[in-house]
């Protein structure tokens, strides 16, 4: 069991990302990023605006491709995979939560949560539906499961998005400023959910946040400045001059 806790979910070796390479608009955003995330870790990714946090998250989530370097997700080297294989790996291993909750308004809360499963398996089974309802119940939305998502408040929508990210029991959850638009109290509640699922499901979670209170609650912090990792270690040891965002 302790061996499994050490299991590496995500590994980056010297990842670089250059937008519009070989053009006058070339923009080198990520420089030689190397890091590892193991099963059950809760990691805060911090840095000033424009430092490359979202870009890094997109690369880690296979939404974007790196320009050079190696990216392993659960032992799979992702460079050289076809678009189809990347999609499959993404749907099996990764759950996303975005800043603007990014739900599909044409569907109800329950259907949004089930979406990753439906895209993969078609019509959801009873067990899958039950599990989605259970997750919605866990995030405190049992009353709203059949509501169209645009009828929900921002905090409620973000909770639907969290339930959706967890429904396929991914090994890795990537959250890009999930509390960015929420008031302090709602942000705390949403963060509590991340903490809870992190412990209960042992999924690794990487959260991008500008909120020092929340990053302090993650055991580990990675700080990015101008596309370089300037700190990677225990949150409690984060130098004070790095805490400002």
């Amino acid at each position: 069991m302790s061996n499994q806790n050490q299991q590496v979910v995500l590994q980056l070796n010297k990842i670089n990302k250059i937008f519009n390479p070989n053009t006058p608009l070339a923009n080198h955003v990520l420089h030689d990023i190397s890091l590892q995330v193991s099963r059950g870790e809760l990691v805060a990714l911090v840095g000033t605006s424009g430092s490359g946090k979202s870009t890094l998250l997109n690369v880690m989530g296979l939404l974007d491709v790196s320009s050079s370097g190696e990216l392993y997700i659960q032992d799979h080297l992702t460079q050289g995979l076809s678009e189809q294989q990347r999609t499959q790996l993404r749907s099996e291993s990764i759950g996303f939560v975005f800043q603007f909750h990014h739900l599909i308004n044409a569907f109800s809360a329950l259907e949004n949560v089930l979406m990753p499963l439906m895209l993969r398996y078609g019509k959801p089974s009873k067990e899958q539906t039950e599990y989605a309802k259970y997750l919605l119940n866990e995030v405190g939305l049992s009353k709203f499961i059949y509501k169209p998502t645009n009828k929900l408040s921002g905090g409620q929508q973000q909770r639907v998005a969290i339930a959706r990210a967890l429904v396929s029991r991914p090994a890795l959850v990537l959250a890009d400023e999930p509390t960015g638009n929420l008031d302090t109290q709602t942000a705390d509640e949403v963060f509590n959910l991340f903490e809870r699922f992190n412990i209960e499901h042992q999924c690794a979670i990487v959260i991008v946040t500008h909120d020092p209170r929340l990053s302090a609650r993650c055991p580990r912090t990675i700080r990015l400045d101008d596309g370089r990792i300037v700190y990677d270690g225990a949150s409690v040891d984060l130098p004070t001059n790095f805490q400002a965002t």
């Binding site: 678009e83 499959q88 044409a106 398996y121």
Partner: protein
């Protein structure tokens, strides 16, 4: 562990491609989510489909009407004996001959072995009716009134398939026997004949016969109504002094537009002189062809505007849904799935629009048919409606091709940030 993982991978890969369930669901929701847009484009498609259905039905009705009128009283293919011509003797090499040729008089000629030809033709199921008959000139006489006529000796059972005289009967009954003849209405008027009257037929050389007028028909073609006298085959053979012979074999086929092909085929088969209705009605044929072409052009243009309509609506919809496409991609949907979602939307729009359009077209045809003054009735065949729906649905999918491909190719990292 890795092995299990691989098994799982294989299974999910299989599912990704075998199930269209989620694609249907997303496509339907996207359409329902924007009801006004969906309704507007459906109405636009339906108007296009209705125009196509109506104009096709109208042209079909018009052409059928013209063909029926023309071919109702005509065989599709006529087989005659080859005409007589002069045969020149061999001309020796290096010599030139001036010759004055006077064409030969064409006497009535019978078809050799016509029973055998008839039996051969009977074996083709595509030939609906094969009717040997004998036809030649004569005079009809009542009292002192005389009129030149065409004697047509028929086998009533077979001739029924060429012209159903029963349908054109004005008075009396359909009967051609040793003593009974049928005459046209114009001839009846010219000679003052009624059913039951006696009529003297004179084919020259003192071959005469007095016959009983059993019925009077009106084919609606003056030439025929003033000249045709139908008799039994034997009777005309005797009068025309061609015992046992026929001069003509008339044929009707199921598809009138391949008459040319059959004429050429039968020409080769029999070695006789074969003509199709297309040879003798070149003007009508020309008219029909230009009508068909006009209809075709209109249909193509309407179909094109429908296709571009669907394509433009979907192009807008793809842009509107950029962010949702990004979300779906992040949730693990494949490019193929996104492609299918939009192809399905195109197909569904085509289907919905054409269903509405077929209904509209049907109403238009009903309106046309119930309008007071009309020359003919339009018949809407279910097969035409079905093909209109099928074509529109396929057109919808085709129209969706370009926007759908664009949606599938979206970079998820960019799409997700789209607002």
């Amino acid at each position: 562990m890795l092995f299990v993982n691989r098994l799982l991978n294989l299974r999910s890969l299989h599912n990704l491609h075998s199930s269209l369930w989620i694609e249907w669901r997303i496509a339907l929701r996207f359409l329902a989510d924007n009801p006004l847009q969906t309704l507007l484009i459906s109405v636009a498609i339906s108007v296009g489909a209705a125009v196509i259905v109506f104009i096709t039905a109208l042209m079909l009705g018009l052409q059928n009407n013209m063909i029926n009128k023309t071919l109702g009283t005509q065989a599709h293919i006529r087989i005659e004996a080859t005409q007589q011509h002069n045969i020149f003797s061999e001309i020796a090499e290096g010599r030139y001959v001036w010759a004055l040729e006077s064409p030969r008089a064409q006497r009535l000629q019978t078809i050799n072995n016509w029973q055998q030809v008839r039996d051969t033709l009977d074996k083709y199921p595509q030939l609906n009716a094969v009717s040997p008959l004998i036809s030649g000139p004569a005079f009809a006489q009542k009292g002192t009134a005389r009129s030149s006529v065409a004697l047509v000796g028929i086998d009533p059972k077979r001739y029924h398939g060429i012209i159903n005289l029963q349908e054109y009967l004005l008075e009396g009954e359909f009967s051609v026997t040793a003593s009974d003849v049928m005459i046209g209405s114009q001839l009846a008027e010219d000679l003052g004949l009624r059913t039951g009257d006696k009529l003297r037929l004179d084919a020259g050389d003192n071959r005469q016969s007095v016959m009983n007028v059993a019925g009077i028909f009106e084919l609606g073609v003056r030439e025929l109504d003033s000249r045709y006298v139908y008799t039994g085959l034997k009777q005309s053979q005797t009068l025309l002094n061609l015992p046992g012979g026929v001069t003509l074999i008339e044929i009707k086929i199921s598809d009138v537009f391949v008459a040319d092909y059959w004429a050429r085929r039968l020409q080769k088969l029999t070695g006789l002189y074969v003509q199709s209705w297309m040879d003798s009605n070149a003007q009508l044929l020309n008219g029909l062809q230009s009508q068909t072409m006009t209809t075709q052009i209109i249909r193509v243009f309407v179909a094109m505007s429908v296709i571009f309509g669907i394509a433009s609506v979907l192009a807008v919809s793809v842009v509107q849904r950029t962010r949702e496409i990004g979300i779906l991609r992040a949730m693990g949907s494949s490019q193929q799935q996104i492609l299918r979602v939009f192809l399905l939307q195109g197909g569904l729009l085509g289907l919905a629009g054409s269903l509405l359009g077929v209904l509209l077209g049907y109403l238009m045809v009903q309106g046309f048919n119930s309008a007071g003054q009309r020359l003919f009735e339009i018949v809407l065949e279910p097969s035409m409606l079905l093909s209109a729906i099928t074509i529109a649905t396929v057109a919808g999918v085709v129209a969706a091709m370009v926007p759908a491909r664009r949606a599938a190719k979206y970079d998820p990292a960019v799409a997700i940030r789209y607002v």
